[in-house]
């Protein structure tokens, strides 16, 4: 085991894949300045700074990937992706289908997101649900150094466009990463903590808040299972349903805004496919429907915290929801 920052885990993944496949390249605003190791090893043709223009960065990646390259692009902060939506959604996401399968788009588009740096709503906006909603794309948002490495490697090898979100607050956090070739498959959730009473489903750094909430709950004798989705598309429906069927109680947690977020999708899946197993309402703990504030205390209040998650989970036991349902519906 090695101990790497998340930033270095990502860098290592890219370096390994660049060694493995000469079609892998990386570009973006400041990429060659900030990833000097990669620049030194692979040179200025494969590691490039770009002009300040997200649209063409993404467009170049899409066009190059269709012709056999495997570009990784860094779009810096998620809100800047708004300038590349046509390229990502209309081109990368659709042109395979629209051309009857003539092209594929093996590219990775990275961006940072999430609270923690008090940078405000034009740097911090969790947009992952937009891409989950859009056909033809894959979306990952890891939460551990090992997963950042393993998922980045899988994303680069995947033949489809992958949106790769990095929690800015975690960038310089360290974690253990297995030595040697380490791949994590897209589309597989991880059970971070097993439990029998309630399921906390989350991704990104909210997983930590869920783990903290689970510890709080355990003190009260409530055993929470914590699921880290890791991939948001494909979504590991089997893992979600298995846990929900086991516990019958689910809280979904994310920093992204509530309406039409990934939490809504999970709750909807549960409302359809785990209906008979659910013993209590499905709750969502998310940011409120507001842009991310900069001011530190407001930013803290914006993001889901362990206390609120634990309280929500505990509330599912407060009254016997099933009994209530029977009374009301009979």
């Amino acid at each position: 085991m090695q101990c790497l920052t998340i930033n270095d885990a990502i860098g290592q993944a890219i370096a390994e894949e660049m060694r493995r496949d000469s079609n892998v390249m990386m570009f973006g605003e400041g990429v060659a300045t900030k990833r000097v190791d990669l620049l030194n090893e692979f040179g200025g043709r494969r590691i490039r700074n770009t002009p300040l223009a997200e649209g063409i960065i993404a467009g170049a990646a899409v066009g190059a990937s269709a012709m056999g390259m495997r570009p990784v692009i860094d779009l810096l902060f998620a809100p800047f992706m708004t300038l590349a939506m046509d390229e990502l959604v209309n081109s990368a996401g659709k042109l395979r289908y629209m051309s009857g399968g003539q092209f594929k788009f093996p590219l990775v588009a990275m961006a940072m997101t999430g609270t923690g740096w008090t940078v405000g709503a034009q740097h911090n906006h969790n947009l992952e649900a937009w891409f989950v909603h859009s056909p033809g794309l894959k979306v990952v948002m890891p939460s551990t150094a090992a997963d950042f490495k393993g998922l980045m490697k899988s994303a680069i090898r995947d033949d489809n466009p992958v949106l790769f979100f990095v929690e800015m607050a975690m960038t310089f956090d360290s974690g253990e990463v297995p030595d040697g070739e380490h791949l994590v498959p897209l589309g597989k959730a991880a059970v971070r903590r097993a439990g029998s009473d309630v399921t906390l489903i989350s991704y990104g750094k909210s997983v930590r808040a869920c783990e903290a909430a689970a510890s709080q709950l355990a003190e009260k004798g409530v055993f929470a299972e914590v699921i880290d989705l890791r991939s948001l598309k494909p979504l590991d429906e089997a893992a979600i349903l298995a846990s929900a069927k086991k516990t019958g109680r689910v809280v979904v947690v994310h920093e992204a805004n509530r309406m039409c977020g990934v939490g809504a999708e999970i709750a909807a899946i549960l409302a359809e496919k785990a209906f008979v197993a659910l013993k209590a309402p499905v709750l969502r703990i998310t940011s409120p429907d507001v842009p991310a504030p900069s001011s530190y205390p407001l930013e803290l209040a914006f993001a889901p915290q362990a206390d609120a998650i634990a309280t929500a989970a505990a509330s599912l036991f407060e009254s016997d929801q099933k009994a209530v349902r029977e009374i009301q519906s009979s």
Binding site: G63, A64, N90, S91, L95, Y97, M98, S99, F105, G136
Partner: protein
């Protein structure tokens, strides 16, 4: 570069232009009687497609847009398969999933057609980048309209191509119209080449209704790209003599302007230049008409995609 293009080659170009014209007029006629969905024709602009494509080699790549039939046909596409695509048939170049607006034909080197105006510019940068990374020594011809040049992607693409020395031949078909808006309403100058020149690349503007002139200008551009490894910009000055999209009554078009440009029809001009006799022309026209008729019938007879194809080709 100054010798005349030999008459055989020009006759081939004439036949290509006639094929495009016949293809599109048939598509429009079939739309008018409810047998086909609407489509964007390039009637009046055929010289740009034919002249530029004639100058390209087999290894070169093409990006086009919503108004693509001319580029496809000039590149040797099977009209039956384009019609099939327009009709949503399984035998279309894109299995019917595209329809008329974004027909790619990778086997012909016509890649990544998008109907998002300006996307062709953005994607071309990537195709050029791949060519450059892969040492292909080819040229990427990107066709787009005067309207597309108003999109930010125009500026971003030209700049990236200049900075990264991408082998792109930008071909702006300035047909004076941007759907239902005249170019004059959308920009302060007449020529897109003025914008392009500010990107530090050679930017030529050519009489787009003179196929020979277009052909030579494209050759010059390609030579520049091959010798310098740098992009080149070519504007073809032309006119869209039919509507934006069938059907279109062109009620918003100045009839005098339209008439003046019709008098400059690129096919008529080449016929006059070649000085073919009436019989020769009739022979070609008949051959073309038969080919188009056959293609249409083939497309009409082709099957629709199976319902299972609704969900195929999404992920690789």
């Amino acid at each position: 570069m100054t010798e005349a293009v030999e008459p055989g080659a020009l006759r081939g170009m004439l036949e290509n232009m006639l094929t495009i014209r016949a293809y599109e007029e048939k598509a429009a006629a079939m739309q008018a009687v409810g047998q086909a969905a609407g489509t964007c024709t390039s009637v009046g602009q055929e010289a740009a497609a034919v002249g530029v494509v004639a100058a390209l080699g087999a290894e070169d790549l093409i990006l086009t847009n919503h108004r693509s039939a001319g580029h496809l046909l000039a590149r040797g596409a099977d009209p039956a398969r384009i019609y099939a695509e327009v009709l949503g048939k399984a035998t279309g170049y894109c299995k019917g999933k595209s329809g008329s607006l974004h027909v790619s034909a990778k086997e012909l080197g016509v890649v990544l057609t998008s109907t998002i105006v300006g996307a062709e510019l953005s994607l071309a940068a990537g195709v050029g980048l791949a060519s450059s990374m892969q040492g292909r020594n080819n040229v990427v011809a990107c066709f787009f309209g005067d309207g597309a040049a108003s999109e930010g992607s125009f500026h971003e693409s030209l700049n990236l191509a200049a900075v990264w020395k991408l082998p792109i031949l930008y071909v702006c078909e300035n047909n004076q119209w941007q759907a239902f808006v005249h170019r004059r309403e959308t920009m302060p100058m007449d020529h897109i080449s003025d914008w392009a020149a500010s990107h530090g690349m050679p930017a030529a503007s050519v009489d787009g209704n003179d196929v020979e002139a277009v052909y030579r200008a494209a050759q010059a551009g390609i030579a520049h790209i091959k010798t310098t490894g740098q992009p080149y910009f070519l504007e073809t000055w032309t006119y869209r003599t039919r509507g934006h999209y069938e059907p279109d009554d062109q009620g918003y078009v100045d009839p005098d302007e339209l008439a003046a440009w019709r008098a400059q029809d690129p096919i008529d001009r080449l016929q006059r230049k070649l000085d073919l006799d009436a019989v020769e022309i009739q022979v070609i026209q008949k051959r073309v008409a038969q080919r188009i008729e056959k293609a249409w019938n083939e497309a009409i007879a082709a099957p629709y995609p199976a319902l299972a194809d609704l969900t195929s080709d999404v992920y690789a």
